[in-house]
């Protein structure tokens, strides 16, 4: 049956995904309730995020700007959304410390939203007057044109701190190596697994994969945000346990659980 003729209201081959999503939502609701009741939510220290504060302080002392590169994703990518949340926190700290912040945007929609987020962060820090229009600007939606502009800025302005957070692709090593050349302290985080090795080699601190998504909760320490991280961890534990059980059962000649995990 081709989809053009399909009149089904539910695809039964995706029931396992719906159940998984439902379980995740239940975990989310449970943990948000726990957070609202005041239950303590522990989140393990992330070296890269602890270093953000120190790195901004370093830039302030040196009188040099902080460069925040939000990645090459558009607003449909979760990495970009996570980056905007982190940017708000970073902008608030730079506003409080009186440090200059530069944010070159790759996607025009994301750049517009980031400008609003940074402006709001400055206002909330009580330094609305210090917000510099033009500090958050669109550069180019072409990968290497963007990289050329950002690396050019790095070499001219010599920022003391480079923060790379978001979705990066082939240009990740380009950015990180150029930043290394200028002597900046570099903190990176990306959900693009293939780029992690380049950031690990070239940056001082790297957030691996999902740590990027946890960063906003870590920096803000808001209970509801921490609750979503707890829900995520519960789901990950359940996924790992299911995979282990399914693997053992399959090895023993019982593939039923493994078949439940197949997607169509």
């Amino acid at each position: 049956m081709t989809p053009a003729l399909d009149t089904r209201l539910f695809d039964p081959s995706r029931i396992n995904l719906l159940v998984g999503l439902g379980i995740f939502l239940i975990f989310l609701i449970i943990n948000i309730s726990r957070a609202r009741r005041g239950a303590g939510m522990f989140i393990r220290p992330l070296a890269g995020l602890k270093a953000v504060e120190e790195a901004i302080g370093r830039a302030t002392e040196m009188g040099r700007p902080v460069l925040y590169v939000p990645g090459l994703g558009d607003m449909s990518e979760v990495g970009t959304l996570a980056s905007i949340t982190i940017l708000s926190r970073v902008a608030r700290r730079t506003a409080e410390m009186g440090c200059d912040l530069e944010v070159p945007g790759y996607d025009p929609v994301a750049a517009t939203i980031m400008e609003g987020a940074v402006r709001q962060a400055y206002i909330e820090a009580g330094r609305g007057d210090a917000f510099r229009p033009g500090s958050v600007h669109y550069v180019s939606a072409q990968q290497f044109a963007y990289v050329a502009a950002v690396t050019g800025y790095m070499l001219r302005a010599r920022p003391a701190t480079n923060i790379f957070m978001g979705s990066f692709y082939a240009e990740s090593l380009f950015l990180a190596e150029t930043g290394n050349l200028t002597g900046a302290i570099q903190i990176a985080g990306t959900d693009q697994v293939t780029q992690l090795p380049f950031f690990v080699c070239a940056c001082d601190y790297t957030l691996l994969g999902e740590e990027l998504y946890a960063a906003s909760a870590y920096l803000g320490k808001e209970p509801i945000q921490l609750a979503t991280i707890a829900a995520q961890d519960w789901a990950k534990a359940l996924a790992a346990a299911t995979v282990v059980v399914a693997s053992i059962l399959m090895a023993l000649g019982h593939p039923e659980v493994g078949k439940l995990l197949h997607t169509q």
């Binding site: 989809p3 003729l5 399909d6 009149t7 089904r8 209201l9 539910f10 695809d11 995706r14 999503l21 939502l25 989310l28 558009d74 607003m75 449909s76 979760v78 959304l81 949340t85 708000s88 926190r89 945007g105 025009p108 929609v109 750049a111 517009t112 987020a117 402006r119 709001q120 033009g134 600007h137 669109y138 180019s140 939606a141 072409q142 990968q143 290497f144 044109a145 990289v147 050329a148 001219r156 090593l173 380009f174 990180a176 290394n180 959900d191 697994v193 380049f198 080699c201 070239a202 994969g209 999902e210 990027l212 998504y213 906003s216 945000q225 979503t228 991280i229 995520q232 990950k236 996924a239």
Partner: protein
């Protein structure tokens, strides 16, 4: 509270999640239309982005900031491509297409080619046996670099099998583990946005 944007986000997000499970042709057509809307929004956003770009570089030119000549080049290119593209179009054979193929494409290829040099300098600096993990990284990198190219097969026919095993077993296992974490993190972040828990995209932290 900006109720309107939150409601639009919730309805749009919930609908797109639902469409994943609903194979009905009307739902799939609606999804396709919504994806087209995203392209239309992007087109308008390009105008915003272009204005932002123009303003930033115009300021550099008028204040004669360091490197203002490059801003003149940027402004001239932006104006030429926009105006000529609107007048003549961007298909094969037009000036804009020729400009793209003769200037932009070679420049992009050149920038990409520079990565080879950066990889070498990064490898020289980063692959040092400072501790156990770094030594493991170093040894694996050397085996992979030699084993994945013709010279590895020339030196020892077993090299390709070793590298294939490294890619198929430990590398794939680690990638899958990180991918599961990233996938769950993406669901969590997306749900936070859809449900309005995270509103940073509205300009509120």
């Amino acid at each position: 509270m900006r109720f309107g944007p939150l409601l639009v986000t919730f309805v749009t997000g919930a609908l797109l999640v639902a469409f994943f499970f609903v194979p009905h042709h009307a739902a799939q057509e609606a999804q396709s239309v919504m994806l087209d809307w995203a392209n239309v929004v992007y087109a308008f956003a390009l105008v915003l982005g272009s204005v932002s770009l123009w303003t930033a570089h115009q300021k550099k030119v008028t204040t004669r900031a360091p490197g203002w000549i490059y801003s003149v080049v940027t402004l001239a290119s932006l104006a030429f491509v926009t105006i000529w593209g609107c007048v003549q179009g961007v298909e094969e054979g037009t000036a804009v297409n020729a400009f793209y193929n003769t200037v932009n494409a070679p420049l992009a290829s050149t920038m990409f080619a520079l990565l080879a040099f950066f990889i070498a300098s990064a490898a020289f600096r980063a692959f040092r046996a400072r501790n156990a993990e770094a030594t493991l990284l170093l040894v694996t990198a050397i085996v992979m670099m030699i084993g994945r190219v013709s010279i590895g097969e020339y030196l020892w026919p077993g090299f390709p099998k070793v590298t294939e095993w490294l890619l198929d077993v430990p590398n794939l296992a680690a990638k899958r583990a990180v991918a599961i974490g990233v996938g769950l993190g993406a669901i969590s972040t997306a749900l936070k946005i859809i449900l309005g828990i995270d509103r940073s995209y509205l300009g509120r932290s």
